[in-house]
Amino acid sequence: MDTRVYIAILALTATTLALMPKLYWVIGYPTVAAVAGSSLAFGSVSALVAARRLYFLAHVIPHVALLAAPISAVILGSGGLDWVLALLIVTVIAWVSGYAHYRGVGSDVVASIVVSFAASATVIAIYYAQRVVGAGRVSQLILGDPLLVGVSEGLVALLVGLLVATLSLSIAREIFYIGVSRDMALVSGLRVWVYDFTLYTLMALSIAVMLRITGFLVATVLTLLPGALAVMIARGSIQVVVASVTVATVASTIGLLASIYLDVPPSGVTGLILVTLYALARVARFV
């Protein structure tokens, strides 16, 4: 199918969903802001992850974020600036993981070590965090729930989403270029390490801030699939980022609506819709 057909279908769906202000009033604008922010952030970062084929980091960073959130909650309590400390922890570990890969350590090795460490330490961190912030808040980190987001959290998510999307669009062309041949990019004079570390930072920022909205489990899906789908259907770096954000927005909005009408967890529906869209796009290539 032609690229324009895919984009037209996605744009039509997104517009239809956007023209439901009465429903959003019922849902609450903090939730709408949170879903918009997470879609912008995950959609744009996912496109860059697909371009650089850094899929292993899409597994590593959510694990690290799930470790950082309860540690921060234990130290600073919940609902304040604990997300800033969590962001710092996630960013540092994302940089270390990315640097190891940049220096030639295999992605499987990096993922095995960091994920194993983070998963084990998370069990201990959650054990103590439950005493401080309660089991409900900890459960939100794992399952995610945009309907529980407060005004300040929604606003932060929207601002972070806009920032991540703007930066992603700014570096998309160079990131895709590096994805073709890192060696050629190095000799061409591009500062590859600057672009790579910017991408690691954007991933850390998106996942650490959006963890409570999407949950740890679906954060991985949102980092992997919108971009993987967009690189199949779009043409050119900017179009890929736009398509990826649109895919993430459509899936997240349908997930939100499903949670209201069908009483199912929104993140789960969002993830399943993304898997379905990805599978359909794969099948359509052979038709």
Binding site: M184, A185, V187, S188, G189, A228, V231, R235
Partner: protein
């Protein structure tokens, strides 16, 4: 900006390269002067690609130094990149790359300019068009995704990305490997024309398509086996020395 230098020159002094304890290059000393085409030939595993990567500053030798136009570029791709363009061995496009041919070549041109590439897009339109035409990519393919190209067309797009930089020294790793016979002739002609004022160093398993434009052949098998006039080197070295696997499979 490229440093002005009347004769493009690459000099390697006693270069040794090892990967995980396995020697890839041993005591390689060479002085390659342009303009002209220089072919590096040798069997698989001879270190041809490594030699180009050393010159491009992508591999730091365990011993020895590399100078390009008199500038020490040993292990410094950022410095080497101001003087050389490099195309790695690549037989097929990266899977799912949505970058278009035009966007790829345009970014190759912009990457070398100071400032943020995207603010200077319009300034390279002419040179991008010229390079795409030069390598024989039809206009209808300019806005295809790289992943939609055949192996030969992808190779041409990569070569256009190298040419657009305008560097005085061009390093091409197996540039004709995936190109059809007709394309080899036309691309060889393009490289021959460029070699009028540039030094073009090409690795190759089959030196013949480029032979009429080649001024020097370097035969390599981790060490330098021979350097000299193409016909002289090729007639002096038996195929079993250069291509032992091929000869054992197909006979002389």
């Amino acid at each position: 900006m490229h440093m002005s230098h009347s004769t493009p020159t690459v000099r390697l002094e006693d270069v040794h390269v090892s990967f995980n304890g396995v020697r890839a290059l041993e005591s390689v000393s060479l002085e390659l002067k342009g303009p002209g085409v220089i072919q590096v030939i040798g069997p698989n595993g001879a270190g041809k690609s490594t030699l180009l990567r050393v010159i491009a500053g992508l591999v730091r030798p365990v011993r020895g130094s590399v100078y390009v136009n008199g500038v020490d570029v040993t292990g410094r791709s950022d410095i080497a990149g101001t003087l050389v363009s490099y195309m790695p061995q690549s037989n097929e496009p990266p899977g799912e790359s949505p970058l278009t041919v035009w966007e790829y070549v345009e970014t190759s041109a912009l990457a070398r300019r100071s400032g943020w590439p995207r603010f200077r897009v319009g300034s390279v339109r002419g040179v991008v068009e010229r390079c795409l035409t030069m390598v024989g990519l039809p206009r209808s393919s300019w806005h295809l995704r790289l992943s939609e190209l055949s192996g030969g067309m992808f190779q041409r797009a990569l070569i256009a990305g190298v040419l657009v930089a305008g560097a005085p020294i061009i390093l091409l790793d197996e540039p004709l490997a995936s190109v059809d016979p007709e394309g080899r002739v036309s691309l060889s002609r393009v490289l021959g024309q460029l070699a009028v004022d540039k030094l073009i160093i090409v690795t190759s398993h089959d030196p013949h398509p480029l032979l009429e434009y080649t001024k020097l052949v370097v035969a390599l098998n981790r060490r330098v086996i021979a350097v000299g006039d193409p016909h002289e080197v090729l007639s002096r070295l038996s195929p079993s020395v250069l291509y032992p696997h091929w000869v054992s499979e197909h006979g002389h």
